[in-house]
């Protein structure tokens, strides 16, 4: 019997909303059947500042995707970002109950709920619990069920966010008459697309440099062990240019894309660029050196902030796989070199895997594709998951808002 489920992946970004529609067949294979994107409004630094505008943009994108696919979405996977997201690592431990020291499903259930059970302040909710690994008597174990041991431990990277911010996102989807199946951190969604299996295993940092925020995720031993958000992105570059060169935002954005670079080079000194380019009244020269200088200062600072935030995650020992850059701002010439210089690690530009359709290959779709990927693997997990009262990992949030 063939069972298919139509799911939507929605990323309400700072510059645009991307909606993808995929069909999951038998919970095993995924076909992308529709997509639409729409320029975003009412979102700054990854957070919704104007609900109405953001909602309209998101609805337009979802509607477009449904039209292109010719089907209706059943459930939505939603990307989350913003400075309100925080993460911490928490470990749970239990003594194995059975007299023969063989680990039972009940033990596993106890230890996982223990590890995930840390209470949050009233206005915060969990978004993710990412399991690092089980330890049986201190030894890493893939599947503890039935193993012998006295003590079972598990540690999770738990991400939590501000309830009202998350509720806004969910309300936008609900407003379209859809339910949110799950929420996934943008950085995690992106990371699983642009990173190779080898890099995930060895340990790597994924930097998703978006318009509103720069999201990071750190892989170690094949799983994500840390995530974070620096609320500085491409929009900040534009804003800096607008203020520094005294041009309006529209031109600042254009100049950034056309002439922007990550760092100043020797021959920028005398180079002049036209502000508008049409050489009409009001057009004027700007020094490219000034332009790049403004950007370089911002980017250097961004990497320094990242370095501070990364802490021990960011050391060369922790990241043999180096850094993978993704997102719109990563496309600036010289970004890899600057990132490498500031963070002291090898850096490469991320790309979506080969199997992705050509028109979705651009890095800007990584997050939405990652959501899809997550949706698919989520289905897998359900099949062999241990008997747990909650099905997926993140049902909690969905329940919370009684969807």
């Amino acid at each position: 019997m063939s069972q298919s489920k139509i799911i939507g992946a929605v990323e309400i970004g700072t510059t645009k909303v991307v909606a993808l529609i995929g069909e999951i067949v038998n919970g095993r294979s995924l076909n992308l059947i529709g997509m639409a994107e729409c320029s975003s409004a009412g979102v700054k630094k990854g957070q919704i500042v104007d609900f109405r505008a953001a909602s309209n943009a998101a609805h337009a994108a979802i509607l477009g995707a449904e039209k292109s696919a010719g089907v209706q979405i059943e459930a939505v996977y939603l990307a989350q970002t913003g400075s309100h997201l925080e993460g911490f690592s928490h470990t749970g431990a239990v003594n194995v109950a059975a007299s023969d020291n063989s680990i039972s499903a009940a033990d596993i259930h106890r230890v996982t709920s223990d590890a995930k059970g840390k209470e949050l302040p009233p206005d915060r909710v969990y978004i993710h619990h990412i399991k690092h690994r089980f330890l049986v008597d201190g030894k890493p174990v893939e599947k503890p069920l039935g193993q012998q041991g006295k003590k079972l431990e598990v540690s999770y990277w738990s991400v939590h966010g501000d309830e009202s911010n998350i509720r806004d996102h969910i309300h936008i989807i609900n407003g379209f008459g859809l339910s949110v199946e799950d929420m996934i951190l943008s950085s995690i969604a992106t990371a699983c697309m642009v990173t190779s299996e080898d890099e995930k295993r060895r340990g790597a940092l994924v930097l998703d440099m978006g318009a509103g925020t720069t999201d990071w995720a750190v892989y170690r031993d094949g799983v994500i062990v840390g995530t974070g958000v620096v609320p500085v992105g491409g929009d900040h570059l534009t804003n800096d240019l607008a203020l520094g060169l005294r041009v309006n935002r529209k031109y600042a954005e254009k100049l950034k894309i056309q002439f922007g670079k990550a760092s100043v080079e020797k021959d920028d000194k005398g180079e002049k660029v036209w502000m508008v380019g049409d050489q009409m009244i009001g057009d004027r020269y700007l020094s490219r050196h000034s332009l790049v200088h403004v950007m370089q200062l911002r980017l250097e600072e961004l990497f320094q902030v990242l370095k501070t935030q990364l802490g021990e995650f960011g050391t060369a020992e922790a990241l043999p796989g180096g850094i993978i850059l993704s997102g719109g701002a990563s496309q600036l010439p010289g970004m890899c070199e600057l990132a490498s210089k500031e963070l002291g690690l090898p850096v490469r530009l991320g790309a979506n895997p080969q199997w992705v359709r050509d028109d979705l290959r651009a890095v800007e779709y990584s997050t939405a594709l990652g959501l899809m990927h997550y949706a698919l693997t989520g289905q897998h997990q359900e099949e062999f998951s241990l008997p747990r009262p909650e099905k997926g990992l993140m049902r909690k949030v969905s329940k919370l808002f009684s969807l």
Binding site: V49, S83, T238, N239, L243, G244, D283, R298, T308
Partner: protein
């Protein structure tokens, strides 16, 4: 010519008959654009102000309604224009320097209006300024800088002329057309674009005239103005803000902050001496004056170097005009000239209020206006004042209150990381100077 000479001359004239006589002001347009700007001014007559026009183009001069007209360089251009050659303009002015000097006899304050980039404006304006200055007047020049698209040659001519003017005028206020354009919306016409400069010149000249001609609650008079400009060659900070209706104080401050003249990147935003004139209706309260003062001084200078003027104009109920005029002793790196002859005793006038040399130097000034000047010295703030006047090249101190510098992110939550707001551009926070 030394500054102090200039200074004391005008001063003696002034102190001669302080009661009855008002400051004699002359507004001189040099070249085509300058004459046009003067024409526009004439529409609203400000008392005690005389207008004059100097041009090489007989035709343009004839069509101008200004009474006092001076045709220069007849021998060189035969009454035709300088044709965009600043050399011709300069020669024309040099040839007729006596006639030019005649225009400035007995004048206290001269405004020179010119459009730089053209022949007469660029060439003659510095000469006219020197004549006026030699005649003992305080010289303030409002000059427009050409649009970039007018070409590199005009641009270069304008920059050279600006440099020359800075050497001879007490204050030069450049109005780059490019930046003024930014204030217009997309469907503005070419005429609008050029007229924009005239509007700003008009506002600028009028605000200074008002400051001098109307007796204020806290009066700013000519002596004060002269004193503020005692140091030639420095750059001038000039900004205007206007608002009416509800919450006008706040709105006027906003307007002032967005004044394009204050945002020229080549300027230090902190002035060494600051003159603030506030014109408001009878409903202007001292609390509002104070609010304006704190905001202005915080942004542009320290309070102890600020001179405040407040004028009450009954016809201006429920509105306020703010005029900020500041000078710096900085030699901008872009116009690296010979180091200016600096007069140490003039470097620190406001703080040296009680010092002996002030009495020795400017006795007249003291009686004329010292009691009317408001100079509040807050000891607590003194340490904020960096000792950078000693250095030839003052480091740019961008004294930004974070509120104002978030641009696009203004309405969003603060983005605080380790005590700094990341939404404020990095270059501003680090005080890095960005040349445009």
């Amino acid at each position: 010519m030394s500054d102090s000479e200039n200074f004391s001359k005008s001063d003696t004239m002034f102190s001669g008959d302080l009661e009855g006589e008002s400051t004699r002001i002359k507004i001189v347009g040099v070249g085509g654009a300058g004459t046009n700007a003067v024409d526009r001014l004439q529409l609203d007559s400000t008392a005690g102000v005389r207008l004059a026009a100097i041009n090489t183009d007989a035709q343009a001069l004839n069509s101008s309604p200004i009474q006092e007209k001076l045709m220069i360089g007849r021998a060189i251009t035969r009454g035709l224009s300088a044709g965009g050659e600043s050399d011709l303009g300069r020669k024309a002015a040099e040839g007729d320097s006596d006639a030019i000097a005649g225009l400035f006899q007995g004048v206290d304050l001269v405004f020179i209006l010119a459009g730089l980039g053209g022949g007469t404006g660029s060439g003659a304006a510095p000469i006219v300024a020197r004549q006026a200055s030699d005649a003992g007047a305080l010289v303030i020049a409002f000059v427009t800088l050409p649009f970039t698209i007018e070409g590199a040659q005009r641009h270069q001519q304008a920059q050279d002329a600006l440099g020359d003017l800075r050497k001879t005028c007490d204050a030069v206020i450049p109005l780059p057309n490019d930046l003024l354009m930014e204030m217009l919306n997309d469907d503005a016409t070419v005429l609008d674009a050029f007229a924009q400069a005239d509007i700003w010149i008009d506002r600028g000249v009028r605000s200074i005239c008002t400051m001098l001609s109307q007796t204020g609650l806290i009066n700013l008079d000519f002596a004060t103005l002269s004193k503020a400009f005692c140091n030639q060659g420095g750059k001038t900070l000039f900004g205007l803000g206007h608002a009416e209706g509800e919450g006008y104080v706040k709105k006027a401050l906003e307007d002032l902050k967005s004044c394009p003249l204050l945002n020229l990147p080549e300027y230090t935003r902190k002035a060494d001496r600051l003159l603030v004139n506030i014109v408001g209706g009878t409903d202007l309260s001292i609390r509002q004056v104070n609010e304006i003062m704190s905001a202005v001084t915080e942004q542009f200078g320290s309070r102890e170097n600020t001179i405040l003027g407040a004028v009450i104009d009954e016809s201006r109920q429920n509105s306020v005009d703010i005029c900020v005029l500041g000078t710096t002793d900085v030699n901008g790196a872009r116009y690296a000239r010979k180091p200016l002859r600096k007069k140490p005793e003039h470097e620190l006038p406001p703080l040296a209020l009680e010092s002996a040399d002030e009495d020795a130097d400017e006795p007249v000034l003291k009686t004329a206006s010292a009691n009317q000047m408001v100079r509040t010295v807050h000891r607590s703030k003194l340490k904020k004042q960096k000792d950078d006047r000693d250095t030839d090249f003052q480091e740019e101190f961008l004294f930004v209150s974070d509120e104002e510098q978030r641009g696009y992110f203004e309405k969003t939550e603060r983005n605080v990381f380790e005590g700094v707001d990341l939404d404020v551009p990095t270059f501003l926070r680090r005080g890095v100077r960005i040349a445009v």
